[in-house]
């Protein structure tokens, strides 16, 4: 106690210019504050930061979405265009195609990640030799940056020198340089699904593992007593009890994949043509390459409302599942 006192309250008499009365004035001021004021003082910096970097830009973006602002032509007068940007977007066939591409990507990759992630969780949930080592190995991809993953897979998938094509060739006999995973219209959409699954299935595995470990052993013991087969135990105990966790994983991954940009941009740049151009890539091109600020603000709002709406519906469903 003495030591603490020494550290927190050094002997002011030994420090020139600092006297005890000054300290007691400060203490009195703090003592005069109500708990509510002190709480606000603690929260205020966070709120200020949130307002500055989240709320203000959001309001500013909503304002811009009703204008014709194009930053590459900022000399043109800024005009209020009402809902023109929104109507342009909703009537643009290309935007609908990009949304379709995004939906296909989200559904395929999340479905695959759930299957692979859940399968891995079932395997890792068993105790075996080298369990920790393999868990770490499986978790490695999700610890990498998407930029690293994009570049790394670009090399792996290179038709002439990349090992992926040679591996496929080994099993199928197809010449390695006769196909390009990122350059062919028929393969590129599956390539981005494959790479995304490679990276994020471990994340789904972690969530599922938490679900599996939360199932009490006595339920399985009771099932054993009832002579339930392993298959029956899986369908009647394991799966139903991990469904809320699976749904949570689906929610997280779906939101993330809807926003997917970096990895796909590095792998295919949205190509070949526009085959893998997700709506986030279109948004980036409209905002920071074409500089159509008004238009891209409107597109961002539409996407935000879409994700927010879908996530809300999903969360309500998730709660219903949990209540059951």
């Amino acid at each position: 106690m003495d030591t603490m006192t020494t550290i927190l309250q050094p002997d002011h008499a030994t420090i020139p210019g600092v006297s005890k009365p000054a300290k007691s004035r400060a203490a009195r001021r703090v003592h005069g504050l109500s708990d509510r004021t002190i709480a606000w003082l603690f929260v205020a910096p966070t709120i200020a930061l949130l307002l500055a970097i989240n709320i203000f830009p959001l309001i500013w973006m909503i304002r811009l979405s009703f204008t014709n602002l194009n930053l590459s032509m900022s000399y043109l007068p800024l005009r209020f265009v009402g809902l023109d940007n929104f109507s342009d977007i909703l009537n643009d066939e290309d935007v609908w195609l990009r949304l379709q591409t995004t939906a296909q990507f989200v559904i395929s990759s999340v479905a695959l990640q759930v299957v692979v992630g859940f399968g891995l969780a079932l395997l890792i949930n068993r105790q075996f030799r080298g369990h920790s080592f393999w868990t770490t190995i499986i978790l490695l991809p999700m610890m990498l940056s998407p930029a690293v993953v994009g570049n790394f897979w670009t090399l792996l998938l290179q038709p002439q020198i990349g090992p992926f094509n040679h591996l496929i060739s080994l099993f199928t006999g197809v010449p390695p340089s006769s196909f390009s995973m990122t350059g062919q219209v028929s393969l590129a959409p599956w390539t981005i699904v494959l790479v995304d699954t490679w990276m994020w299935a471990p994340y789904v595995m972690l969530i599922c593992l938490a679900g599996l470990r939360s199932i009490p052993d006595y339920i399985y013991e009771a099932a054993e007593v009832d002579r339930a087969s392993a298959w029956r135990q899986f369908w009647s105990i394991t799966l139903p009890m991990t469904v809320p966790f699976l749904m949570l994983a689906v929610l997280f991954r779906a939101i993330e994949n809807f926003k997917m940009f970096d990895m796909v941009n590095l792998l295919t740049s949205g190509g070949p043509g526009s085959t893998t151009e997700l709506v986030s890539i279109s948004l980036k091109r409209a905002a920071f390459e074409k500089w159509r600020t008004g238009y891209s603000s409107a597109l961002a709002i539409i996407l935000f409302v879409t994700v927010f709406g879908a996530a809300n519906i999903y969360v309500k469903t998730l709660n219903k599942v949990k209540q059951r």
């Binding site: 590459s72 000399y75 038709p159 350059g183 043509g273 390459e289």
Partner: protein
């Protein structure tokens, strides 16, 4: 406590050492306290410019700092900087297509008064570079940049392969003519087909490397080399912005079809999203017989120990049925309007415009646009690619340089890549859609677009 004491003394030593090193390195400049930041793309000529800039620092005492960004993010990065009125760059070597936006948005300092005062005449520079890099509006005496780096699309080929007797005779037997650098695109395609899949020195090689990149400007900068020569133009010269029937003429569609045929018949597998660097890699690794690329890279290729010297040859972009042109590259150097060091930046431009500096610029790997350098009698012999460069600069055409160029460029990237690489629709449909896209952009810009 002992550990903390050790940390403190170490930190102090590091600070003292850093201060000492800083003092040694930046002596003269630090004394004068002047520094300029020059922004450009990260590529071979930028390294040459760093070397050249040492002379400027020696003469003026102004230290040069450089911001070089890879080509794929060069436009994004610096247009963002200019748009946001940032102070990162005092001088910028901006792409030719930026000039319209930079002038209209007042991102660059207008240089007319400075040129008059310093007696720098634009007549002393190659006219295509003055129009391409400096003027806005085009063909008017309003100058926003000094031509800094002349450039155009050219071709390299494996001279050693072309010279082999067995290859020569096989080619002659198949096509009834000698194997030589192509003068037309039809000849180029034949040569490409001839080399495609051929085994040379035990290695499978491919016909040609062409630009196919999707994200920035690659495929547009490639396809225009063919389109111009098949009769494509950006608009009606008599009716500005009238594109219907010009951009999407039957001839232009044939040109686009040809580029796709070239891509299908003669390129290496996987070249679906390839630009400058992929071309250099393909050529340096002995994978392709011919390579489309910018002249800026040719000094480096010529010096390459594996494929340079006697093994490499150069030729001008081949002609097509409707003309003989090539895509203009290159950039001008400008003073950024928000710079706090405009006078020093102008001093740099004054220094850079001197004939002796321009001569050295060419000698160390840059491409001068000064007539005194390129029209000198010994210029064609000064480098293996100098005659082709000179000829190319006489036949260049450039993409739109409008303030909305980025939208126009990305629209073309999409339509062309969709057709050439992704096999979507026909060439005619791709160009029809392009006219529709461009019309929309110009109308948004407030331009009158005549339909016929």
């Amino acid at each position: 406590m002992r550990r903390l004491g050790w940390l403190r003394s170490t930190a102090a030593s590091v600070v003292v050492a850093a201060a000492a090193l800083g003092g040694l390195g930046g002596g003269q400049a630090a004394a004068q306290g002047k520094q300029l930041t020059l922004c450009w793309a990260a590529w071979d000529p930028a390294n040459a410019l760093v070397e050249l800039g040492k002379d400027f620092t020696k003469q003026s005492g102004i230290e040069m700092k450089y911001e070089f960004v890879p080509w794929t993010s060069y436009a994004d990065r610096f247009l963002n900087e200019l748009n946001s009125h940032g102070k990162l760059c005092d001088l910028i070597i901006g792409d030719s297509q930026w000039i319209g936006g930079a002038a209209e948005n007042k991102w660059y300092v207008k240089l007319n008064d400075f040129f008059d005062k310093e007696k720098i005449s634009m007549d002393d520079f190659v006219s295509a570079t003055v129009v391409g890099y400096s003027q806005w509006p085009k063909n008017t005496p309003n100058y926003w940049a000094l031509p800094a780096m002349a450039d155009a699309v050219g071709w390299t080929y494996r001279k050693d392969w072309f010279a082999r007797p067995e290859i020569q005779s096989a080619f002659k037997a198949k096509y009834g003519r000698d194997l030589a650098p192509p003068k037309t695109y039809d000849e180029l395609k034949q040569i490409g087909e001839f080399f495609q899949g051929r085994e040379i020195d035990g290695k499978k090689v491919y016909g040609a490397y062409i630009f196919t990149e999707r994200g920035s400007e690659g495929i547009t900068m490639g396809v225009t080399n063919v389109l111009y020569n098949y009769g494509f133009a950006y608009d009606n010269p008599k009716k500005p912005y009238q594109m219907q029937g010009i951009v999407n003429s039957a001839d232009a569609a044939k040109g686009l079809e040809f580029y796709k045929e070239l891509y299908k018949c003669c390129t290496a597998p996987g070249m679906t999203n390839a630009y400058m660097q992929e071309g250099l890699d393909a050529f340096k690794s002995g994978q392709v017989a011919m390579q489309m690329n910018w002249f800026a890279f040719f000094p480096g290729l010529y010096k390459d120990p594996n494929v340079g010297g006697d093994k490499i040859g150069f030729f001008v972009n081949p002609a097509g049925p409707k003309g003989h042109f090539t895509q203009l590259g290159g950039q001008g150097i400008s003073v950024v309007a928000t710079s706090d060091h405009k006078d020093d930046a102008l001093a740099y431009i004054k220094w850079f415009a001197q004939p002796a500096v321009q001569q050295k610029w060419w000698q160390i790997g840059g491409y001068s646009a000064l007539k005194a350098v390129v029209d000198a009698p010994d210029f064609p012999k000064s480098a293996a690619f100098a005659p082709q460069f000179l000829e190319s600069m006489g036949i260049v055409k450039d993409f739109w340089a409008e303030p909305s160029y980025a939208q126009l460029l990305l629209d073309m990237q999409k339509r062309v890549h969709d057709y050439v690489v992704a096999d979507k629709g026909t060439a005619q449909q791709a160009l029809d859609l392009l006219v529709k896209d461009w019309t929309k952009v110009f109308k948004e810009q407030g331009k009158e677009v005549a339909s016929q």
